[in-house]
Each structure stands twice: as C-alpha cells, then as structure tokens.
Symmetry: C2
Subunit: 290 residues, 2 copies
Amino acid sequence: MNQSLRDNKYAPIGVFDSGVGGLTVAREIMRQLPRERIVYFGDTARVPYGSKSRETILRYSRQIIHFLESKGVKAIVVACNTASAYALEGLRPEMKIPIIGVVKPGAKVAAAATRNGKIGVIGTEGTIASQIYTEMIRRHNPDAVVVGKACPLFVPLVEEGWLKDPITIEVARRYLASFQETGIDTLILGCTHYPLLRSVVRDIMGLGVELVNPAYETALGLGRLLEECGLSNDSAGPRMERGQSNGSANPQDAPMYQFYVSDAAEKFKNFANSILPCEIKEAQLIQIEE
Amino acid sequence: MNQSLRDNKYAPIGVFDSGVGGLTVAREIMRQLPRERIVYFGDTARVPYGSKSRETILRYSRQIIHFLESKGVKAIVVACNTASAYALEGLRPEMKIPIIGVVKPGAKVAAAATRNGKIGVIGTEGTIASQIYTEMIRRHNPDAVVVGKACPLFVPLVEEGWLKDPITIEVARRYLASFQETGIDTLILGCTHYPLLRSVVRDIMGLGVELVNPAYETALGLGRLLEECGLSNDSAGPRMERGQSNGSANPQDAPMYQFYVSDAAEKFKNFANSILPCEIKEAQLIQIEE
C-alpha cells in the first residue's frame, strides 16, 4: 500500500445512479460500512437511463465520475444497473481510483444461490439488451441458463408510489409470466428500483424462487475492495478524528453523507428520507453537463 | 412585411418535443400545411420532461432552439406541453423568429367548446403543477372552472405500446376518477402522447365529455401565424422552386422533413414511421448539450 492510498482512507465513497434507485445501494453501504462517508449523485435531470443508448450512458457516466472525483472520493460505486452494464468496463481504464458496479456482485451471488442452474433477471431495457448478467453469471457457472425480461413500467410505478397496488401486481404478473415454464429457482432484481417491489415479486414468484438484491452483495464487495486496497476507514469514525483536523480542507470535517442531484432536489430529498436510515438535510443541485 | 421575412418563406418550421410525442403535432402540421417543410428535434436522451423542474426545462429548450435556429427555421413550434408551460414565455423575448406552443391553442379551443364552463386537463406533473392551462383558459373565459390531473404513467404506458390494454384502462380509470362529481364537459389531452390513448379516455369519460387534442388547433394556429407574418410558403411547394435555386445552400434543395434526436435514432425512426403519414428514411443523432 502506498502513502497516497493510506492518506485517502478517510475520503468518502462516490455513489451514483440515474436518480433515486441507487439510494437502495447507499442504504446498504450505510448499514454494512457505517464508518464510510458517502458522496451520492443522482442524475434526476436525465433519468431514466434504462431506455437510453450505450454511447449516451457512457457519456453521462463519464461526466458524473469527473464530478465525484472533484469531490475527492477514494472509490466509486456505480449504483445503477444500466450504467454498470453499459459504461463500467469502458471507464475503468480511464480511472485512477477503484470502481465497482452492481452487476458483477449480483451475478456472483445468483450463480452461487441457484441449485438447478436456471436464473432469471429482470431489469431495464438497456440492462437486459446488454446481456451483461448472462455474461457475468457464466464466468462463475458456464452452464447456467439465464432468462432476462425487461420491465420498463416498474420504474414509473415505483416513482408513482404504487408499491403494493393491484395495478402494479397485474403489471408484475404480466412481466413475470415469461418465467413460467422456465423452471428458474433464482431471480435477480436487476434494477435498483426493484427491491422496493420485492414483496409483489415474491408473492408472484413464490417461495421456491430466491430473489437476489445486488445492493447487499455490492456493499459487501465494496467493503472487501476497500480492505484489499488499504482504503477502509479503520478509525473509530471520522467524527472521532476531529482532534487530528488540520483546517477546513480536511475531509474529516465534511458531513458523513452528501447528496447532489441534477434536478428536483426537494423531491429527491423527500424520497431519500422515506427510505434511508438517517435524515438528510439537503440535496444540492448541480449542473452536471458543465 | 420586410424583405428578410419574404426571403424566409421557403424556410422550414422547427418543431421540438422531449421525444416522440410531438410527432402527433408534426403529423397535424403535415396534414394541414402540406407545403411547409419541417425540421423536427426529439430530445430522446433526456425524455421525459414531465417530472423535471422549470429551470431544467428552460435550459434544455434554449439549447434546442439554438440548434433549430442553426438549421435556418422561420418559426418554432414547441410541441411539448411541459416545455410550452415552463419555457415558452421566458424564451420569447430572446427570439428573432415567431414561436408558438401547444398550450394556448388547446386552451382556446377548450374555452370555446365548453357549454357549462367546467374543463378538465390531463398532463404531466410539470404541466399540471404549472397551472398554465387554467391561466390560458381564463383569458378566454374568466369564470371557467378548470380541474387538472397529472397522469405520470400514461407516457410510459404509451411507450410500452399498451394502447388499448386492460392495465392501461385500469390506470386511466383510476386517474380519471378524480373528474367524477366535477361535472366537466370538456377534457384537454394536455400531453402530446395522450392522443394515442384517446379511445381509452373516451370510453371512460363517455360521449358527454368533449376531448380536445391541442395538436389540431396548434397546426391551425401555426398556419394563421405564418400568414400574419408573411411567412407562409405560398408556392406550389419547394420542389417546384428548383429553378430559382442558387446553389446547395438554398434551403429549397433540402428534404421536406428532417428529423434529429439526441439518442436512440433507430427506435425513434420506427415509432415515427408507425404514426406519420409518410415514410421517414432517417433520424440523425446529434449531441444537443454541445
């Protein structure tokens, strides 16, 4: 471990998503890695990513990573399945800090969880069309049969707040019908909004199908990555470090969690406060295109 | 009429929308003003506009107008209710060419159509929150009662292609239930996607409620505006004007209809060909942010 990495261990983790969905990943990081600070960016002006092209997602992700790097983050979590699918591999060679997505951890746990080798994936059009889950699952289990299904109405239904609604159940029933006869025993919730529909999906799929939420495994993978790079914040927490502070530029003086968005900051804050374990005071609006 | 306007009458009309919805307006212009050329821009990378803030919509609209002006258009039609609601009045003072939106024409025809003075409006969250239809309707009928309802799932349902689907009918029934007891006799389809759900809305609202599609009235208003500014293409059509051509820069050599998008050009082209009266060969991808 070199000195610059050691200096960085108090720096925050950068987490980004197309909007609010990635908060389900941030929530897992807060739970599993309570000493780590987070700078979250939600691209609420350009949400959704799920129907956009690879080139556009790559361009947007690059802008966001530059922004997060300007905030001094020590590692980046791409908390969006579509961006993980389309942009992650392309961006990694350009980066000086570690970056992980949600797809690889989700694929790994699904490959380990299946008993019959038949795995379903639900996600946005982009994630499913990319076939990224199939590719990643087969790295662990080359014989796995992977069946994907795009569920484009799930995100707007979650955004509408119709989480356990008869209409949502009917939409889910229609989308999930394509898994009948496939015999899958494991289903990946391959979009960060979908854990919020977990109980609807569970009721339809039944207890015989294990639901995989990549957020949990991503936070676990992040913890491991930070360890391996010597980047874990192994202090008692930044709040305890104030005595070592050497001025306002010291990252330890910064708040534990910071939130930035490209639009509609108030709406974002309200949604965040409905799902995060802590109260957030503010989401700051920035112009990500510039 | 000054000379520069007279020279401009063969120039195209610029039409823009957040995505494909504005094609319902372009279609009306093609029908009603068959001599007019069109340059259409669909902001498919940043769709939807309906949930974004006023500031963001204003910034996006300004970028698009600059692009359309660079294509030499003689007038601009904002074929998006949200952009008409949030950006039109702010942009007009900056412009050298005429600009019209879809809200004012829709409001005018609804104010004329109602018999009991009670008018409903359905649209995106942005359009409804702006109260723009209420304001515009009251210019014609100060005593009108206007009841608005945001229907955020209608756009994704149209994009999913579930136009006459039981789920769409159920969603529509729920949204439109808020008009029960209001006694409205006129309902404005205040989003350019909604004419594609016309029959679903008609079945629920019944024949006693007149449905207003602002696209028709917008094309009519555009024709009137061009007349008044001396900008109508009163020739037998640009194809007949070749003899007057003075080189490749002459706009008369350009195709009748040109389409530009910020993402997913192929998908746009297929959708356009499913609803336009003519076959479009190509939609060109451009980076609108630059």
